[in-house]
């Protein structure tokens, strides 16, 4: 498989910044909080050119952090991210414009005191993709591309609805002519009837511009709809990766199966209330994760081996991999999805 975007063994730790005094105190055995959270833990992913990779998981699983590492917003603690062989960051500084991000909340991501046309033009002018003189035309083109009326470039963000703002945010990202687009919950804050419009726009643009995409969402049905492959995260680790239809159809990891099983599904021809399964317990604190496989305290298939050692990521088939000792047993079970 030829990788275009490659994420190689990337980890990110968040910990308290210790002063020299605190560090000495900790060394001498004083009670100083030195624990850190491993938000993303040794993640390796390869995304092909033009592919959309879905990233799912519950809140706190590290999917947004991973998105920011790929986008070059956060430097990784270890590992590298490369696009077409070129690194995204060098010594903690972003060195490419080939990756851009669309964020969840279009109310927070646009400067309220800047005209939206200026917001979209700012990056392309700074990086020489257009000139200040020509920027109006350049922005108008992108406005049309995302379904906005080009005469709106002189308006301010508060004059737009949520859906329109998200279109502006998409225009801003695409005006930088990126090869890779990171979408962090781009439809989560939109109304249901607007969601469909933005998803359609996304599908049209990624195909039309041959964009490579990482699509982060907690909404499994959205991810299923837009992605080619999907990665399931749990407490900073990728537990399962594979083509959408396979992962959703026959999950190989017990967590994937349980996650899909607990989503309320809209069944149109049910005569009674739909039954859905629940996962026992809660996600453990990332400050003190359990030993071995992080999922073992909630897992119905957990064995002593799961408690002792973290399972390695193994290939199930060509494009599929899973980090579980009992994936064969899981694959043998009847899938929760109909």
């Amino acid at each position: 498989m030829s990788a275009f975007l490659s994420i190689d063994n990337v980890s990110r730790l968040f910990g308290p910044k210790l002063s020299t005094g605190e560090r000495i105190a900790a060394r001498l055995g004083a009670k100083v909080e030195t624990r850190s959270v491993r938000a993303v833990s040794e993640v390796t992913l390869n995304v092909r050119k033009g592919e959309t990779l879905g990233l799912v998981g519950e809140s706190g699983c590290g999917k947004s952090t991973l998105g920011r590492l790929i986008a070059g917003i956060l430097p990784p603690s270890a590992g590298t991210v490369t696009i077409d062989g070129a690194p995204v960051m060098i010594r903690g500084k972003k060195v490419t414009t080939r990756v851009q991000t669309v964020f969840q909340d279009p109310f927070a991501s646009l400067d309220p005191r800047m005209k939206v046309g200026e917001t979209v033009a700012e990056g392309p002018i700074a990086h020489g993709l257009t000139t200040r003189a020509n920027s109006k035309n350049y922005v108008a083109e992108w406005f049309e591309r995302v379904g906005l009326d080009p005469v709106w470039v002189d308006r301010y963000p508060h004059q737009f609805s949520g859906g329109q703002r998200q279109r502006i945010a998409i225009a801003r990202a695409l005006a930088m002519q990126p090869d890779v687009l990171i979408c962090d919950e781009p439809v989560a804050s939109l109304d249901v009837s607007i969601q469909a419009q933005i998803i359609n726009l996304f599908l049209e643009l990624t195909k039309g511009l041959d964009l490579t995409c990482v699509f982060i969402s907690h909404d499994l049905s959205v991810v299923q709809h837009v992605s080619d492959r999907v990665a399931v995260m749990y407490l900073g680790r990728i537990v399962e990766l594979g083509p959408v239809a396979q992962v959703f159809g026959t999950p190989a990891h017990p967590y994937t199966a349980a996650l899909f099983g607990s989503v309320p599904k809209l069944v149109l021809d049910a005569d009674e209330l739909v039954h859905f399964d629940t996962i026992e317990g809660e996600v453990p604190s990332p400050l003190s994760p359990p030993s071995g496989c992080y999922y073992h305290p909630r897992c119905p298939l957990a064995s002593p081996q799961c408690r002792a050692d973290a399972p390695p990521t193994t290939a199930v088939s060509d494009l599929r991999s899973v980090a579980c000792y009992n994936s064969e047993q899981q694959l043998g079970q009847v899938s929760p999805q109909k």
Partner: protein, 327 residues
């Protein structure tokens, strides 16, 4: 059907703002039987939360209930004084909110807060109050409930906090519980646990529930009947299964069709065009008409409520119904 515990007739709540009158709730009617769960679905700004607030008399100025009646076990609530309302709120009708962080007092232990909630309506000794609190916490699925009474809200996870809020709302075994998006901020695995628990609780305690949500899938897994709101009006209501199987209102049909789960992956989704209208400047007739593919000249008038057995809708051209034929 026996007498409803809650009967809402033509409830109308307006906000009198400087920009004009906002008709947030505009003639909402429904009945709720003992132990019944009704899902109230709508997009942001459709008036579902204000409906919930109106039921409990929690609407603040510049908002006011201008018309209609809310009868709880036969008592009219809209004409009660605030003291009389206060005596019923939390005892006969209570509410839970989306954000459990904002509903719990960070400075008091869970046990103290629950005792205050009990003390608001009845005199009960400390030991008995704590015993009842622990019992309720256990009922909503909090492990080692007795010990947890000593804990502060920040020591709980989001899901556990919402369970505490639910337990407090249920302390007096209210006849009606209004739940405003209580699982929206929670993870799916926690949401599933709470939804299942609520189903059981409604059946066990006989508490009727109004479950407000923007998520059709969530309410349909819980509620036996649904009401769909658009621009302050219930545009369609009926038993969950029948409504989902054959939606009559084009808005309901459009909402269902636009869900990603309804389409083949990778293909364009069916979308509803346009955006939700501003409640300040609604079109004169059907509020959905400008976005509707089935609109006709008739839609410049306000569509009346059409009743068909347990179902009802406000549309001149209902989907899949002989009356809806487009001429």
């Amino acid at each position: 059907m026996s007498d409803p515990v809650l009967s809402v007739q033509n409830l109308t709540t307006h906000f009198f703002t400087r920009a004009g009158v906002v008709k947030a709730v505009d003639g909402v009617s429904f009945d709720l039987a003992r132990g019944e769960i009704m899902g109230l679905v709508g997009e942001s700004g459709s008036g579902k939360t204000v409906t919930g607030f109106s039921l409990l008399g929690l609407v603040d100025l510049p908002g006011r209930i201008v018309e209609g009646s809310v009868k709880l076990n036969g008592t009219e609530l809209t004409t009660l004084s605030s003291a009389e309302l206060r005596a019923r709120r939390g005892r006969e009708i209570s509410m839970i909110f989306q954000d459990p962080i904002a509903t719990l007092n960070p400075l008091l232990t869970i046990g103290q807060q629950m005792r205050l909630a009990i003390g608001a309506h009845e005199r009960l000794g400390k030991r008995a109050a704590l015993a009842r609190s622990a019992e309720l916490l256990a009922q909503v699925g909090i492990p080692s409930a007795k010990e947890r009474l000593e804990a502060y809200p920040h020591e709980f996870s989001g899901g556990m906090r919402q369970r505490v809020a639910i337990a407090i709302a249920l302390l007096h075994r209210p006849a009606v519980l209004v739940a405003d998006e209580p699982t929206t901020a929670l993870d799916v695995s926690i949401q599933a646990q709470i939804l299942l628990q609520m189903r059981t609780l409604a059946a066990e305690t006989g508490t009727a529930m109004i479950w407000i949500s923007h998520d059709l899938a969530v309410v349909s897994s819980l509620a036996t009947k649904l009401a769909v709101m658009y621009a302050g009006k219930i545009v369609e209501q009926g038993p969950t299964a029948a409504l989902l199987k054959a939606p009559r209102h084009p808005y309901t049909a459009g909402l269902i069709a636009s869900l990603p789960a309804m389409a083949t992956p990778g293909t364009p989704l069916t979308q509803i065009r346009g955006t939700t209208p501003s409640l300040l400047s609604l079109p004169p007739g059907c509020p959905f008409a400008p976005r509707c593919d089935r609109g006709s000249h008739a839609c410049t008038q306000k569509p009346p409520l059409t009743l068909d057995g347990p179902r009802g809708w406000r549309c001149f051209h209902p989907v899949g119904h002989p009356a809806g034929a487009l001429t």
